[in-house]
């Protein structure tokens, strides 16, 4: 797949001396689609773009999913569109490199000042000659630069996709976290109201009431902070999807998905990353083109300017003369030492950069894999152990309450602790999905089994307490 893309890239880069608008972006789109299954588009104000715009509205008309959000961003993220323009710049450079320098026509007319003599004409047509030898090499360097740029742009697109996935999970989780925060507030409010009623009956001190009320008000502030974060998370997603105006009205229906039942195999990830990552590929290309540029400079170091041309001249009283011209630069002083030295340094620089990128990529993959595994373990621990224990604490607190061993306040405290545990669980599941997106980004592709499992981290279920077997009279 990768090889085919590269081949088509090479074919496309070869030989054309004219600008092609979609050139390059098609390659980017192919690379991105191969890795995400989603199409990307370069908005160039064509009629098809109106089609894309309609497609965007369709996508945003339905409740957003992680994949849909990525698709919208790939089609619409302004930074990405900006990056696509770089392909134009790069392509222009490549076209430029394939052009021979234009022949130079020079002419002069000499008009006598006195009465003596006649008007003198001189014309020459001169063509820079070295170009003919260096052109293929130059073209190759430019082509490689273009491929490297294409890879880099595709990498940018994938990074944006990963960032969207992360932001999407963040927002998706935040909605549920806000809901849980509301539950905490409700518990605190109820606790304060209970205290107020106790106070009204004359059973507790002003101090105890104020303490409960202060706790409830703090919970209110916590909720508004979290609600603000929800807005910020949504706006982050809006920016990534490049949305404004009516398009920001999108909705979300799914809650954060459960963890996939099985973890994708996490062996050979380092190798996969090295093979598959486009930025590494780009760095590799960059090193190779620096080498070619260096070669080019070295092979032409003894060539000065070689200009070949024809020349016609007529003296004031002589015959018309016509003949070839040759102008040869003698590389006595400047043998391009400066340029070669610079290119050598730049070549080594690009090699080092490739090494750095690879070493870092391997380490980042290891760290991300460890993070993914640890978060899975933590989420499982929450799900199988901590949350059932919290449920049990609630159930047992309720029994102790029924037995009048504890009051409402500890019962509500147990509820708050249960909710906090569910928040911890949600955050862990969210971090898991973010770590997964991160790992996929580091691998330059998706992990196997990345289709989403059904949504699930449900809000804490309230314990189903049996009804009282006996009517109880209340004033």
């Amino acid at each position: 797949m990768k090889r085919a893309a590269m081949l088509s890239l090479a074919l496309l880069a070869g030989g054309c001396a004219s600008m092609q608008k979609e050139r390059g972006h098609q390659e980017v789109a192919a690379l991105v689609e191969a890795r995400t299954g989603l199409k990307t588009r370069w908005d160039q104000g064509t009629p098809e773009d109106a089609e894309v715009s309609r497609h965007l509205d369709t996508l945003l008309g339905e409740p957003l999913t992680s994949d849909r959000a990525v698709e919208v961003a790939l089609l619409n993220n302004p930074a990405l569109q900006q990056t696509y323009e770089e392909l134009g710049v790069s392509q222009a450079d490549m076209v430029q490199a394939g052009l021979l320098s234009n022949p130079v026509l020079s002419g002069s007319v000499g008009v006598p000042i006195g009465n003596l003599g006649v008007t003198e004409h001189e014309f020459s047509l001169v063509q820079e000659f070295v170009d003919i030898f260096t052109l293929p090499l130059r073209k190759r360097v430019a082509k490689e630069q273009f491929i490297a740029d294409t890879l880099r742009v595709a990498h940018e697109a994938l990074s944006t996709a990963a960032e969207v996935r992360k932001a999407f999970r963040e927002f998706q989780a935040r909605r549920q976290l806000v809901e849980l925060r509301r539950e905490v507030l409700l518990a605190a409010e109820v606790s304060a109201e209970f205290a107020a009623r106790q106070r009204e009956a004359g059973n507790i001190t002003e101090l105890e009431l104020a303490t409960e009320q202060a706790t409830a008000e703090q919970s209110r502030l916590d909720l508004s902070q979290e609600e603000l974060t929800l807005v910020e998370d949504r706006e982050h997603l809006n920016r990534l999807m490049g949305l404004w105006g009516p398009r920001i009205q999108w909705t979300l229906s799914e809650s954060l998905p459960e963890l996939p039942a099985k973890e994708a195999p996490l062996e050979h990830l380092e190798t996969t990353a090295i093979k598959q990552r486009l930025d590494i590929d780009a760095a590799r290309k960059q090193a190779s083109l620096m080498w070619n540029a260096l070669e080019l400079a070295k092979t032409t170091r003894w060539f000065g300017r070689v200009e070949v041309g024809v020349h016609t001249h007529r003296d004031s009283d002589g015959p018309r003369l016509f003949g070839p011209t040759l102008s040869l630069e003698l590389p006595i002083f400047d043998q391009r030492q400066g340029l070669i030295g610079k290119l050598e340094a730049q070549y080594r620089q690009s090699e080092r950069r490739l090494t750095e990128l690879s070493v870092n990529a391997r380490s980042e993959v290891r760290a991300a894999r460890a993070r993914l595994q640890s978060l899975r373990m933590q989420a499982e621990h929450y799900r199988t152990t901590v949350l059932p224990l919290r449920d049990k604490v609630i159930a047992q607190s309720q029994l102790q309450y029924n037995a009048m061993q504890i009051g409402l306040t500890p019962l509500l405290t147990a509820k708050k602790e249960q909710v906090e545990s569910y928040r911890g669980y949600l955050e862990t599941v969210r971090d898991y999905w973010m770590a997964r997106a991160e790992l996929e980004q580091l691998l330059g592709g998706r992990l196997p089994g990345s289709t989403e499992p059904p949504p699930s981290p449900a809000p804490p279920p309230a314990p189903a307490a049996p009804e009282h077997s006996h009517e109880h009279s209340h004033p």
């Binding site: 009956a201 059973n203 029924n402 037995a403 009048m404 061993q405 409402l408 500890p410 307490a465 209340h474």
Partner: protein
């Protein structure tokens, strides 16, 4: 060598007796006390042929007793005259020498006679005990029971107690309030080595007093008493004084800390107890005291709870406190009372004639001692108006219902699910509804006819002798205006 230190100490005779006893010490009284059982035991072993010797010894003691009696009465030597009257007597036998006590919810410890010595065997062990239906706990007791069985003897009985320790900790038995040789007193480390797990110790002495004593562990008392290692000792007088009683009940008061949902008493609790028991049972599991109308009733109360004194109140009668743990109170010093305070570490005995039939409550008058597993951390919500609070709480906790605004009375009958193995707040059903009492509460049931201790059921009050709702006609007749609720 021996110096009398007490002016009430008998003179020559005791010196003479003391010389028989190799274990004589400088303490005046124990010498005599130790001597008497020794002589008694020796005589018994010699059997019938030694009656002359016995008579001689008895005569000497009698003589001594008579002389002692002639001395000015001293509170520290009250039994000196009595001792003479039983010495040499054969072991006291039930129904001949005494009317056995009734131990509601309990038993008396069996014994066998070996050469005139009553031999008992106590086994200290862990016992799963049911306090009332719905609450069982792992306690420590004796012979598979909590508390230990009641030991019943007669003044003058020579006894031998074998005590086997099947606990995981060392223990001892202290014979509380019993006059005996110091080495038999059972304080671990002070009077004896503790009985290690698996060991059996022997205690041997003669009861030379009457009244009610108790026994309990005196090693790591805080733990072992809190775990239930206590029991009653009833010592019938060799020659009873006062009117003969028909029913003789023995009750041990105790308190525990058993958190709702646990199954072991917490011996670390010092003050905050939540289970109060009569013979280790809490109402509604306390067996009633069943009496036939006109019977003279004796109720013996012992208290080995860790902390609290219990004012035990009996409805329907005046009783007289006839005994403390040091013996019988002279008739001239007995007061009519309806409540007797039984301090920690003490026994009290009351007597009365049950001449009014009915169901009469008997309970500790410390109100929180008639509650089962009361929660002491419950907020005060008396008079609180829940308003819409319940609906809000149910959003978070569906089973929630505000309770306690009118007290804890109806908690027991609400039937809400509670922690397993717990009987919080609850009492039991009575004839006229739910009895909101638990803990140290039982019913004295006085009837025209009884069938032993069999529960006769609830009393049928004769017409006109029962409180009922006042009729409007009655109110009008008597000019009673009922204020309208505001």
């Amino acid at each position: 060598m021996r110096e009398p230190t007490d002016p009430a100490e008998p003179l020559q005779a005791s010196d003479a007796v003391a010389s028989i006893d190799p274990s004589a010490t400088s303490e005046a009284v124990p010498v005599v006390e130790a001597a008497a059982p020794q002589g008694f035991g020796a005589l018994t072993r010699r059997g019938i042929l030694s009656t002359a010797g016995a008579a001689l010894a008895g005569g000497a003691l009698l003589l001594r007793g008579a002389r002692a009696e002639a001395q000015p009465a001293s509170p520290s030597r009250p039994e000196a005259p009595k001792r003479a009257s039983y010495a040499g007597a054969p072991p006291g036998m039930p129904h001949r020498d005494y009317q056995p006590v009734v131990v509601p919810n309990g038993t008396t410890l069996p014994w066998k006679l070996v050469d005139g010595v009553k031999v008992f065997h106590l086994v200290a062990e862990e016992v799963e005990h049911e306090f009332a239906p719905g609450l069982k706990a792992l306690c420590w007791g004796y012979n598979g029971q909590v508390h230990g069985p009641t030991i019943e003897v007669v003044e003058g009985d020579r006894v031998r107690f074998y005590v086997t320790n099947r606990l995981s900790a060392p223990t001892t038995v202290h014979w509380h309030g019993i006059l005996l040789p110091s080495g038999m007193d059972g304080v671990g480390g002070l009077n004896q080595k503790p009985i290690d797990p698996g060991e059996t110790f022997r205690y041997e002495f003669t009861f030379r007093q009457s009244g009610m004593g108790m026994y309990h562990s005196h090693h790591d008392e805080m733990t072992q008493i809190a775990m239930g290692m206590v029991g009653l000792i009833v010592i019938h007088p060799r020659h009873p004084t006062g009117p003969k009683v028909d029913k003789d009940f023995a009750l041990m008061l105790h308190e525990w800390r058993i958190d709702a949902g646990t199954r072991r008493p917490n011996p670390n609790e010092m003050t905050d107890f939540n289970m109060l028991t009569l013979n280790a049972k809490a109402f509604p599991a306390t067996a009633p005291l069943v009496v036939r109308k006109g019977e003279r009733v004796r109720i013996r109360l012992g208290n080995l709870g860790p902390m609290d004194h219990h004012p035990i109140h009996l409805h329907g009668y005046h009783f007289r406190v006839t005994e403390t743990d040091a013996g019988r109170i002279p008739e001239s010093a007995q007061w009519p009372e309806t409540t007797v305070l039984v301090p920690v570490g003490s026994t009290r005995t009351v007597e009365f004639v049950a001449d009014v039939p009915g169901d009469w409550a008997m309970h500790c008058h410390m109100t929180h001692h008639v509650m089962n597993q009361m929660g002491h951390a419950f907020p005060n919500v008396i008079g609180m108006k829940p308003g819409g609070l319940d609906a809000k709480v149910r959003k978070l906790l569906p089973g929630y219902m505000t309770m306690g605004q009118a007290g804890m009375g109806d908690m027991g009958e609400m039937g809400m699910p509670v922690p397993e193995n717990s009987i919080p707040m609850s009492g039991g059903e009575g004839k006229h509804g739910y009895i909101t009492m638990g803990g140290m509460f039982t019913v004295l049931k006085v009837r025209e006819h009884t069938n032993g201790q069999e529960d006769p059921g609830w009393y049928e009050n004769p017409p006109g002798t029962q409180a009922t709702t006042a009729t409007a006609a009655e109110l009008q007749r008597d000019g009673i205006e009922v204020p309208k609720p505001s």
